[in-house]
């Protein structure tokens, strides 16, 4: 009995003791570390930087690529941003596309959005720069890593700048407790923003190594390439002249672009990879042609084949088929003799449209009759809908409704369904590669000096890779500046198809809403596909409009999101001034 009483007291005592234990409520979190740890060693600070690299668009896991916003590719399904917003001109401040993998997403909208916007990424860069600068880490480390971070910050800024024009340029971390009202920063002008980005790149380029011992980090060439691209964008009609009468505009801008791209060529560290098809496969990761790329490997792979690859393979729907080349893109591939199909002497036969085309055509496009993974792609009408790639003329399935798929960047050895389940795309995603630099140089230089031998050499280098095409001269003889421009534009479209370049190109060339001659622009006219029917075994090819497009002039720039205006009175309230729209909403919205 006494023992029971005692045990009773022991229980009570136990409770009392636990309760009275000092700091009973002191529990240390096991999921976070403090400043003292992060900025103490280079290894720890690198972990922070790894996260910034991880913020770059994860394009090999993206479903909807930027080419689907353009006339290069139809959009897989119409609920995606490309269709839902861009193709039907449904772009408003509260309904705007954020770009593939949030490429030009401004910042979190404050409604619990889990996605990361560019200003979140920019803060990470600013924080790294501030903390590392203030730390006791070795100077060598500071110099090299801060340069990397400034490059990354410029990369994030350049997407915002291309999409919105002038934007708030923020180079310090904001703190609402200590900085008061100065956390509200107005938009810089478009030119100021451009200058900020290119100055940053000009300053960081010399600080970066010529060749990276750590693949995935930027090099001097990467900084210059990004700078050259921005300069090309700034020199192009959209931001330079903006009218047909003066397609060149301020020639100094073209000169800058030409010089910077030339500087990349002069670094002497880049060359074209001989095999165009293999260039995009993992065997060519970090090749001489790759200038800056997001890296993939087992454990951190992509889902390209499953999301973009042909839908039905060997009778089973394995992939989502989101690369759906349009007839317009198909038509822009040259004949093997170097001529465009519309040009006299090209030898193009509309009833045998896939004969005698340039190599890149077969290395980019899958069409009726193409071999893929041991199967033959069949898009002919009347095969039985659910077991073949019979062209879908509506949007009632994932099957192509242009009659084409793409194989570029896709690894034929990877099955689509397995790829989506296990993320097995290990090829890198190249933000920039050397062929683009050559074409950018050629384009800029052609605007400055016309088709000089340097221009021709650069274009020919790309055209003739692995005997793809004869040279420009061999095809056309002497060409003038306008013809050269046309050749470069077409070359650029074909060479860089499905690399998320076309959208920016048609914007900067200002050919989206209407052409220089006033005809509907390339994003403002119906798109075609190829309907193939069988007439007693003979295939009949009929071009058919498969998609309607609408592009309004305002869409050359994205609207500043409504929540951005709502939350920063300096953007909302200040309007007027020289640029009119700089601190308010972009024109047209």
């Amino acid at each position: 009995m006494i023992t029971i009483k005692q045990s009773c007291l022991i229980v009570l005592l136990g409770v009392a003791l636990t309760a009275c234990k000092k700091n009973y409520l002191e529990v240390s979190p096991r999921d976070r570390v403090g400043d003292d740890v992060v900025w103490a060693t280079t290894a720890n600070a690198d972990l922070f930087l790894n996260d910034i690299y991880n913020q770059m668009p994860d394009m090999n896991n993206e479903t909807e690529h930027l080419d689907q916003y353009t006339d290069n590719s139809d959009v897989g399904v119409t609920w995606m941003q490309g269709y839902a917003n861009i193709r039907i001109a449904n772009v408003t401040p509260s309904n705007l596309p954020r770009g593939p993998w949030d490429m030009w997403y401004w910042g979190k909208d404050g409604n619990g959005d889990s996605r990361t916007g560019n200003y979140e990424k920019i803060r990470k860069c600013n924080l790294f720069i501030e903390k590392v600068t203030a730390s006791k880490l070795p100077d060598d480390y500071k110099k090299e890593r801060i340069a990397e971070v400034r490059f990354l910050r410029a990369l994030f800024y350049h997407w915002l700048w291309m999409a919105y024009g002038g934007i708030p340029v923020i180079t310090k971390t904001l703190d609402n407790i200590t900085q008061g009202d100065s956390i509200y920063i107005p938009r810089s002008t478009e030119v100021e923003t451009f200058q900020f980005i290119t100055n940053e790149l000009a300053e960081t380029a010399p600080l970066l190594p010529l060749q990276q011992s750590d693949p995935g980090r930027p090099t001097r060439g990467a900084a210059l390439t990004l700078k050259g691209w921005c300069e090309l964008f700034e020199a192009s009609p959209l931001r330079n002249s903006g009218n047909a009468a003066n397609p060149v505009g301020d020639v100094e801008r073209w000169k800058k672009a030409s010089a910077t791209n030339k500087a990349v060529m002069d670094l002497g560290v880049y060359d074209l990879y001989p095999d165009f098809r293999a260039l995009f496969l993992k065997s060519a990761n970090n090749s001489l042609e790759s200038i800056f790329a997001r890296q993939y490997m087992p454990g951190k792979g992509g889902q390209l084949e499953g999301k973009e690859g042909p839908t039905i393979v060997n009778g089973t729907e394995l992939a989502w088929g989101n690369f759906q080349p349009t007839q317009e893109l198909v038509d822009d591939f040259s004949m093997a003799n170097g001529k465009a199909i519309s040009e006299p002497g090209s030898g193009y036969d509309p009833q045998h449209p896939y004969l005698n085309r340039e190599n890149r055509f077969y290395q980019t496009i899958l069409f009726n009759g193409s071999e893929w993974q041991g199967d033959t792609i069949k898009t002919v009408v009347g095969l039985g809908r659910s077991t073949e790639n019979e062209i879908d003329l509506g949007y009632s399935s994932d099957v192509t409704h242009t009659g084409y798929y793409a194989c570029k960047r896709l690894d034929e050895s990877i099955l689509g369904s397995d790829n989506r389940a296990n993320s097995t795309s290990y090829q890198n995603y190249m933000f920039f590669r050397y062929a683009e630099v050559l074409l950018s140089f050629a384009e800029a230089e052609n605007e400055v000096n016309g088709p000089t031998p340097d221009v021709l050499a650069a274009v020919n280098k790309v055209r003739t890779r692995s005997n793809n095409l004869p040279t420009v001269q061999a095809t056309y003889g002497a060409v003038n500046q306008d013809k050269m421009r046309e050749i470069i534009h077409r070359e650029r479209r074909v060479e860089l198809a499905f690399e998320d370049k076309r959208w920016w190109d048609v914007l900067r060339w200002k050919i989206a809403d209407k052409m220089a001659d006033g005809t509907p622009g390339v994003l403002n006219r119906p798109e075609a596909g190829m309907v193939i029917t069988s007439d007693n075994g003979t295939l009949v090819y009929t071009r058919t409009n498969v998609s309607n497009r609408l592009f309004l002039p305002k869409m050359y720039m994205m609207p500043v999101p409504q929540y951005v205006l709502d939350r920063n009175y300096k953007i909302r309230q200040q309007s007027g001034g020289k640029d009119g729209w700089i601190n308010g909403q972009n024109p047209g919205y």
Binding site: I4, K5, C8, V11, L12, V15, A16, Y24, E26, R30, D31, R32, V33, D35, L47, F48, N50, Y53, N54, A84, N85, I88, N90, T92, G107, K108, G110, G112, G117, Y119, K124, I170, L174, I183, S213, P215, Q295, Y296, M297, P298, G299, N314, G315, T316, L318, R385, S386, T387, L393, G394, Y395, S396, S397, D398, S417, D418, A421, V546, N548, L550
Partner: protein, 1165 residues
């Protein structure tokens, strides 16, 4: 109205018995206390030499047992041995003795009353002998009155004492309830009394035959209710609580106990969002939603913070909800959302009783939408293509092919031209649900026990979905000494959940209403159009868009969860000898919870058809991963609770004082481990057999710890049961917050007045048994957000960027800290009344409540620019009010033919209002859009006016001037038109945009009004009860393929096909067809909101108990068969779409609520 006046009694007169009952209970409790407080030695002494039947006490209750059994029972629990002649006692085979603790002598008095027998004690022997014949007195003018005494339920009551008022003589009823008594004259008054029943006085008034019904006194007045950290006499309780007894729902075919409560208690609002086994729990709100943060009530089982959803309903004694500040104050920072206290059954003194209950039920969806057939699909597709200026997708030949299949034509080709039916092709009808429960209970004065085993097996609507649940419970109460009481409770459950490998149970969180393991399958089911074969005619199956419906269900591996919960509690209570009424109690509880999840995903088998061969050929193909993968994870959560109690109760004259002090500390330790492998070279689902290449392996693990400490007090006082007052509260500390912000104080006060005890009612309105008004005010808290939000820092994660050919880890900044973050505070006011009239014939309860919740956490992101770059931890800035009304009514009556009717109804209304919340100017300055001042969750959107008509357009197809539209939307007649309500300047601007949003619907999820109505009938062997439950003031959005055809390449509903806009049908339910839902039609607008008010036959049960005479021969005391059902009928007048109004998904792609009918059996041995 005097329902219970028995035939022949013309001037019934009832005494106001409640007082007596209360006094009786108080006497009893005082006696118990007195005995307990006298210390152990006295009682022990009494035990050793006390062979006196007037001192030895026994707790005994019998129903329908023989007298012999009764005597044996007494022998079992005492040292006494009986001597009797079997022939003299055997005829008393059906005696009734209400459960109570009495002396042996009293027990025998009751048992033998009316039998003509009495007893004589010699040492420890007690002899049962016939009553010695007494000399008969034959008074003048005597009158013999005879009659029968029955209970309200019509049972004959033997042993009822009948006494002549003002005289000593009396008699008892015989085993058939009959009596005969000689009274001196016609003005005599008879007093009928029987333990457990209300004493009744009946004037003879010349009648020689009087039949009497006695009412059970176990009404609300003597009920004891469970409250925070203790119990209270309901009549003296002045807190707002509601109770439902376990027996009310135990036998309904419901697996998750949270689904049994809605409609049964005022103040409880619940909705069941899914029917998926293991994930089908209801979301419960006490008095609606009072916060924008976590609004879940605190769950307590047997005094410890625990989830009750998996408990076996058959082992539940009662469920109590605590509602007002006074009731929840003991729970401090966890109580503001209300508290649900679940009490499991305990053993009772008596012979061991073994009982079995089992049922088998069949489950089917409550409501299920119909989709188009393939012919309709093809026509609709082409119509949409036409509308969008595309070429037709289906040729005439194809359409003809589908038509033949749909029509069942002899020359149809159902393989090339299928007509599949989506979900209906794969759904398992009449999925089986079985439940078995075995219980053993009994006890002696010293040891009482209750033990139960339960088994539940539930099949799903998919062949690979099933659940098995095993429950066990053992409650042991031991009077270790006369002053020491020990309680040991061990219980637990194991739940095995099986799903197809395609589902991901890792994402299935039982507490998350949106998690669903079956969601992916349902997506595929609604997506697959009828033109895509789900099954081919030869039984093989096909696929659609990289997935196969049959494959995902049945050929994709498996996903299994095995969750094990053990609950142990050890308590010891000691009466302290030095102060009367004082006791201390210590409780220690250890609850480990383990989860084990195994997901084996295999390539998904499907078949590719080739229609170019004759006959068609089918080859196997695989979707999903090309090789199997396995992931395993396990976690453990160990919860420790220690409670130290100080209890004091004493009365000083008419003053009654109760004090409770509790010190409680709680802690939890959690860890998890996980590992996964992909690319299994061979199909052995073991972790070690997986792929070994880089990227094939991954492992993970984490741990965390939680702590809380609280000091609870409650002081109750009442004067003569009339004036009641209580103060209670808790000083509470929690590890979530920064030092200096960790402790809070949550006090509450309440006052009550029981008017029925005032003489003006006692004297003038004796039919009022109870009339109590009460009011309470207090503060309570709600833990919101997460731990450590007061700290800045960085979190570490794996699998950041690939650099230098290697995987890296990453570090990123967490949210900007808020060092002042703290809990939500609720100020609650409650005014209520309770009444019991006509001896409990009518029970009325009503409560009005008002709550103001402040400190609610809101993300302050709108206070910084969108360029800020890092999220801000929430701030305690939002304020919300919630008010409402609860009413409950109950009545019961037994008709003369034995039909017993009991009806309970309840009504709850709760509406909240945001008083302060972060808003942008755009919404705050627009009266249509302002959230402040409106209920939380109010749905804002565009106001749809109907469809554009041809008259809205110019000849070139452009909209006429002045017709407002979404900017640049290429609308046509048959597309939705919206009201232009406002613009950036606050005035209509001809443009439809966010500025035109307005209130279009009530909050989604929790209805603002809920009704419950539950009649209960019994007649002879039959019993019938059902629960009708209704909810209103709730708006449900509809979307997805349920209303938008071809959404995500999906199918279309039959309803859409039949009623969408065409030039010939301009008043259609749905807009014109398009190849994909058009953004300008799918905008969140009033067009897509539905009034989800409903009336459901939530449950019903019809039982029949076999005659006791019949079954006793085979050794069974009770045998009952019953049919029962859950969700039997749903009426939802405003929802044309056939989904359940409680759907958690607007597009119907969720696991449907189930309608269950069952057949069951109860046996008591």
């Amino acid at each position: 109205m005097h329902f219970f006046v028995s035939k022949g009694s013309t001037f019934p007169y009832e005494r106001p018995v409640p007082l007596k009952t209360i006094l009786w209970i108080m006497r009893c409790s005082t006696l118990v206390l007195a005995i307990l407080l006298c210390g152990c030695s006295i009682l022990v002494a009494a035990k050793t030499n006390g062979q006196d039947i007037r001192e030895t006490r026994i707790s005994l209750g019998l129903s329908g047992k023989s007298l012999e059994t009764a005597l044996k029972e007494i022998e079992q629990h005492t040292n006494f041995r009986f001597g009797y002649r079997l022939s003299e006692i055997s005829r008393f085979s059906h005696i009734q003795l209400p459960e109570a603790t009495r002396t042996v002598a009293t027990t025998l008095d009751l048992l033998l009353s009316g039998t003509g027998l009495t007893y004589q004690q010699k040492d420890h022997y007690v002899f049962i002998v016939p009553v010695p014949a007494s000399p008969k007195i034959q008074p003048q003018e005597q009158l013999t009155v005879t009659g029968t005494v029955t209970s309200a339920k019509g049972e004959k009551l033997p042993g009822v004492s009948i006494r002549l008022k003002g005289a000593a003589n009396g008699t008892n009823t015989d085993p058939e309830g009959r009596f005969s008594i000689v009274v001196p004259d016609e003005q005599s008054i008879l007093i009928f009394s029987f333990i457990g029943y209300i004493t009744k006085e009946v004037p003879v008034a010349g009648n020689t035959s009087i039949n009497i019904q006695l009412e059970e006194s176990a009404t609300a007045l003597s009920e004891v209710i469970v409250v925070g950290y203790g119990t209270q006499l309901k009549v003296n309780s002045i807190v707002a609580v509601s109770v439902v007894k376990g027996k009310d729902f135990a036998q309904k075919p419901v697996v998750n106990m949270t689904n049994s409560l809605v409609g049964r208690m005022p103040g409880l609002i619940a909705d069941q969002g899914s029917g998926e086994p293991g994930l089908d729990g209801s979301r419960i709100r006490i008095r609606g939603t009072s916060t924008i943060g976590n609004a879940n009530p605190l769950l307590v089982v047997d005094g410890i913070y625990r989830d009750f959803s998996r408990l076996d309903p058959a082992t539940i004694e009662s469920v109590t909800i605590l509602k007002d500040a006074a009731a929840v104050a003991p729970y401090g920072l966890a109580g503001a959302n209300g508290v649900i206290l679940v009490t499991t059954k305990k053993g009772k003194t008596g012979a061991p009783t073994l009982s079995y209950n089992g049922y088998a039920g069949f489950q089917n969806p409550t409501r299920m939408p119909r989709m188009v057939n393939s012919y309709e699909y093809a026509l609709l597709t082409n119509e949409a293509n036409r509308n969008d200026n595309f070429n037709p997708s289906f040729t005439d030949a194809q359409i003809a092919g589908y038509k033949k299949t749909v029509d069942g034509a002899a020359d149809a080709d159902p393989d090339k031209y299928p007509n599949s039916r989506g979900l209906r092709d794969v759904l398992q009808r009449n999925a089986l649900l079985t439940n078995h429960n075995l219980q053993l209970s009994g006890g002696t004065e010293k040891v009482k026990y209750f033990a139960a085993l339960g088994y539940t097996s539930q099949d799903g609507q998919f062949s690979t979905t099933s659940l098995k649940k095993y429950n066990a419970l053992a409650n042991l109460d031991v009077a270790a000494t006369t002053t020491t009481h020990v309680g040991i409770s061990i219980s637990g459950w194991v739940e095995d959940q099986h799903y197809s490998g395609y589902s991901d149970p890792g994402s299935g969180d039982a507490n998350n209403r949106y998690a669903s393991a079956g969601g992916g399958i349902m997506y595929q089911a609604f997506r697959t159009p009828p033109t895509s074969a789900i099954y081919y005619s030869n039984g093989l199956w096909g696929s659609y868009i990289t997935n196969s419906l049959v494959g995902t269900i049945a050929h994709s591996g498996y996903a299994r969860n095995e969750n094990t919960q053990i609950m142990t509690t050890f308590s010891i209570e000691q009466q302290l000898p030095f102060i009367k009424g004082l006791s201390i109690k210590g409780v220690a509880s250890y609850d480990p919870y383990n989860t084990y999840t195994k997901v084996w995903k295999t390539p998904i088998l499907t078949y590719s058809a080739d229609f170019t061969t004759t006959p068609y050929t089918y080859t196997p193909a695989y979707l999903g991963p090309s090789k199997p993968s396995l992931s395993l994870s396990t976690s453990q959560n160990k919860a420790f609770t220690y409670q130290g109690y100080l209890n004091y109760h004493n009365t000083f004259g008419k003053h009654d004082i109760t004090f409770l002090g509790v010190l409680e500390s709680r802690s939890q330790k959690y860890w998890d481990l996980s590992g996964s492998r992909i690319n299994y070279p061979i199909d052995i689902d073991e972790l070690d057999r997986g792929g070994t290449a880089q990227g094939d392996l991954s492992n993970g693990g984490a741990s965390s710890e939680e702590r809380q400490i609280g000091y609870v007090y409650r002081l109750s006082y009442n004067y003569d049961g009339k004036y009641l007052a209580e103060v209670s509260g808790r000083y509470d500390g929690h590890y979530y917050f920064a030092p200096g912000h960790r402790y809070g104080f949550f006090p509450a006060f309440s006052l009550g007045w029981n008017m029925a005890r005032e003489s003006f009612i006692k004297d003038n309105a004796a039919w009022i048994d109870l009339l109590k008004v009460r009011a309470s005010y207090g503060e309570s808290g709600n833990l919101a957000g997460g731990p450590f939000q007061y700290l800045t820092g960085y979190s570490v994660y794996n699998n950041a960027a690939v650099l230098n050919g290697a995987l890296t880890a990453g570090i990123s900044e967490v949210l900007q800290a808020n060092t002042a973050i703290t809990w939500e505070r609720a100020k609650k006011t409650n005014v209520g009344m309770e009444a019991s009239l006509w001896k409990g014939k009518l029970l009325i309860g009503a409560d009005y409540f008002y709550e103001k919740r402040s400190n609610m956490l809101v993300p302050p992101s709108v206070t910084v620019p969108a360029e800020y770059g890092v999220g801000l931890t929430e701030q305690n800035a939002a304020i919300m009010s919630n008010h409402g009304l609860e009413i409950s009514l109950g009545t019961n009556h037994t008709f003369s033919n034995g039909l017993h009717l009991e009806v309970n109804g309840n009504f709850t209304y709760a509406q909240n209002k945001l008083l302060q919340v972060f808003e942008t100017d755009a919404t705050y300055n627009n009266p249509n859009r302002r959230q402040t001042g409106r209920p939380y969750g109010t749905q804002f959107g565009l106001k749809a006016l109907g469809y554009f008509t041809p008259a809205d357009f110019n000849a070139d197809g452009s909209l006429k001037a002045g017709v407002a539209s979404l900017p640049d939307a290429p609308v046509h007649p048959g597309d939705l038109r919206y009201a232009d309500l406002s613009g950036p300047s606050g005035k209509p601007d001809g443009i439809i945009d966010d500025n035109d949003q307005t209130v279009i619907g009530r909050p989604n999820g929790t209805p603002q009004m809920i009704f419950g109505f539950s009649p209960n009938l019994s007649w002879k062997g039959f019993d019938l009860n059902f629960l009708l439950q209704a909810a209103t003031q709730i708006t449900l959005p509809v979307g997805g393929s349920l209303v938008f055809p071809f959404d995500q390449q999906g199918s279309a509903s039959e309803l859409y096909y039949k009623d969408h806009w065409t030039p010939a049908n301009t008043t259609a339910l749905y807009p014109r067809a398009s190849t994909q839902p058009k953004d300008y039609n799918t905008r969140y607008s009033s067009w897509w909101l539905r009034d989800a008010s409903y009336l459901k036959l939530r449950s019903a049960e019809l039982g029949y108990s076999l005659s006791a005479k019949l079954i006793r021969r085979i050794g069974i005391q009770q045998l009952r068969v019953y049919v029962a059902g859950q969700n039997l009928w749903t009426w939802t007048p405003h929802m044309k779409e056939k989904i359940d109004p409680e759907a958690r998904s607007s597009n119907g792609q969720y696991y449907f609520q189930q309608q269950t009918t069952s057949l069951g059996l109860n046996v008591t041995f």
